[in-house]
């Protein structure tokens, strides 16, 4: 998917006018695991709604699989099935009598035969890690984490090529958060999907993504591997974002005279680097 100079302004020509996206150009490679990070109001939620055609850019073009999605002949509904978007607090979209029926909603809208719909729903629920004994329950009886899994399954059931998750762990406890992240990482690995993870916490995404895009005031500020992005930790602080605690620790250790790798992004990398530095005579 290629974005070329996307611009979007909210409430144009009123007192509320806000330029949310300014000349955003990006290339999202197939199969990548991408993190989008930004402060509240940085334009990240606006950006992802452009990716599946829910919002239409004021200017600029988006190409998906080589086709311009703003073409008159382009069927935006197929795009929406190909690019699955899981909103913040997705459990707020649940409405059916049972979890299983709710997950069937997406594929049913794709006008697939009944067997195919049910097969896809079952696959999606399994991929989202929801135990089978809950499938026939009302979605409103589930726990917070289970509801979220059910809602994610609702999008997965359309078998998207690209899955976008907007703050998928907001409001979950640390264990629920880790479980969801592990599940998403697993989906990326097993289902070969392009996954875009939106978050405002570096800590969360650093462990999983292979590429980080940092948004600030509607523009792409940094774009690269987590290692590369975190090396700009001073600049990140200036815009109200923080690098993971590991980065700070490593910089402190380096200052204290230990020759560690300051670009370690995960706890394991840091541990290995510190052990190596200490082992050296």
């Amino acid at each position: 998917m290629i974005l070329d100079k996307i611009n979007y302004t909210y409430s144009r020509d009123t007192a509320y006018e806000r330029h949310a996206l300014k000349d955003v150009s990006l290339k999202l490679e197939d199969g990548q695991f991408i993190g989008i990070i930004g402060h509240t109001g940085s334009g990240k939620s606006t950006l992802i709604q452009h990716l599946n055609g829910l919002m239409r850019a004021d200017s600029g073009t988006i190409f998906f699989n080589g086709e311009n999605i703003y073409d008159k002949e382009y069927d935006i509904r197929t795009l929406r099935a190909k690019v699955g978007l899981v909103f913040q607090y997705p459990e707020h979209q649940l409405f059916e009598a049972t979890v299983f029926q709710d997950v069937c909603f997406g594929p049913k809208n794709q006008k697939l035969p009944k067997e195919e719909v049910e097969a896809r729903a079952a696959d999606a629920l399994r991929a989202a890690g929801l135990p089978e004994n809950l499938w026939q329950q009302s979605p409103f009886e589930l726990s917070g984490g289970q509801k979220r899994r059910a809602a994610i399954a609702g999008v997965l059931a359309m078998r998207p090529q690209m899955l976008i998750l907007d703050e998928p762990t907001a409001g979950l406890d640390p264990r629920g958060r880790d479980e969801i992240f592990e599940q998403v990482a697993g989906m990326h690995r097993d289902l070969h999907m392009t996954v875009v993870l939106v978050s405002h916490s570096m800590e969360d995404v650093a462990n999983y993504v292979e590429r980080l895009i940092v948004m600030n005031r509607g523009q792409v500020m940094l774009d690269g591997t987590p290692r590369h992005v975190f090396s700009y930790y001073k600049e990140l602080e200036a815009v109200g974002l923080a690098a993971p605690q590991v980065t700070y620790l490593m910089h402190e250790l380096r200052k204290a005279g230990l020759s560690v790798d300051v670009n370690a992004t995960t706890k394991d990398e840091a541990k290995a680097s510190i052990l190596k530095a200490l082992a050296r005579p």
Binding site: T14, A15, Q49, N52, L54, R77, R80, A81, G84, L85, F87, P90, H92, Q93, L94, F95, F105, G106, K108, N109, Q110, F140, G154, V155, M158
Partner: protein
């Protein structure tokens, strides 16, 4: 389509009208609304139009913003006009099949339409220039005397302010759920009326649930802060009349005099 609901929304701007005491605005609105239904001739509507557009001009709210609010009542407007057009007895002008259009019908259809448009425009200027809090404060203060006959004025005012406050929240929520369901392939536009109504279920069920959730959350938060009704409650910004409010009352009185003159003089 949902973004077009401007009723109960506030438009921030720095104008005389915005700064007026809400009690003046409420009084003016009441008088204006009553006057609309008293006028039976063009002179009256001219006077109302003068008053209305003066008000709009002073408020510095873009007219396009208010006209957008009108779009939501187009259906009601058309139905009212049609009923008046076909069902008013009098001198027949055109007749076909079972329909009969009379001279009186045309007059009352047009009058009714003008009245409704003026009504919506007038009341939306007030809500656009007054924050919900000011509005209910003003209402509570103006209706204060009713407390004596055991009408729970404070509670009514509180309910109103909560209801008004929730309009934009629920509109936003509706948009959000709509988007989430569209992302799952829902279709809210095509199909006939029955199909459309059926397609609304994925929108309405989550919306109701979220409205109830918000209501319990709010009630809990109010209780946690020891809310116990209006008795002995003080205000952070008590309403006080200023010079400009006096001037505004004078303008309103001139309008009242105008109404009386028009009613008495113009036949």
């Amino acid at each position: 389509m949902l973004r077009d609901i401007t009723i109960g929304q506030y438009y921030p701007a720095d104008s005389v009208i915005h700064k007026l005491d809400p009690r003046v605005k409420l009084f003016a609105t009441l008088l204006y609304v009553v006057s609309l239904f008293l006028f039976k001739n063009w002179a009256g509507f001219l006077l109302a139009a003068l008053f209305l557009f003066g008000f709009i001009w002073l408020s510095r709210v873009p007219v396009s913003y208010m006209v957008k609010g009108l779009r939501t009542i187009v259906v009601i407007l058309v139905i009212t006009a049609l009923f008046n057009l076909f069902l008013t007895p009098g001198e027949t002008l055109v007749e076909f099949w079972i329909f009969r259009i009379t001279r009186e019908g045309i007059v009352s259809a047009v009058t009714m339409a003008v009245r409704l448009i003026f009504l919506i425009l007038g009341t939306s200027v007030v809500t656009l220039t007054t924050t919900p809090n000011q509005l209910t404060d003003g209402l509570e203060k103006s209706l204060g005397p009713l407390n004596k006959i055991r009408i729970p004025v404070h509670e009514i005012a509180m309910m109103m302010s909560i209801a008004l406050r929730f309009v934009p929240i629920l509109v936003e929520e509706t948009n959000k759920i709509m988007k989430a369901q569209i992302a799952r392939g829902a279709d809210f536009e095509s199909g006939n009326i029955i199909k459309k109504a059926k397609n609304m279920i994925p929108l309405l069920v989550p919306l109701f649930i979220s409205a109830f959730r918000r209501a319990t959350d709010l009630a809990m938060a109010m209780e946690a802060r020891c809310y116990h009704g209006g008795e002995g409650r003080t205000k952070m910004k008590p309403l006080k009349y200023k010079k400009r409010d006096g001037v505004a009352y004078l303008v309103v009185l001139v309008y009242l005099a105008g109404i009386i003159l028009v009613r008495v003089l113009v036949k």
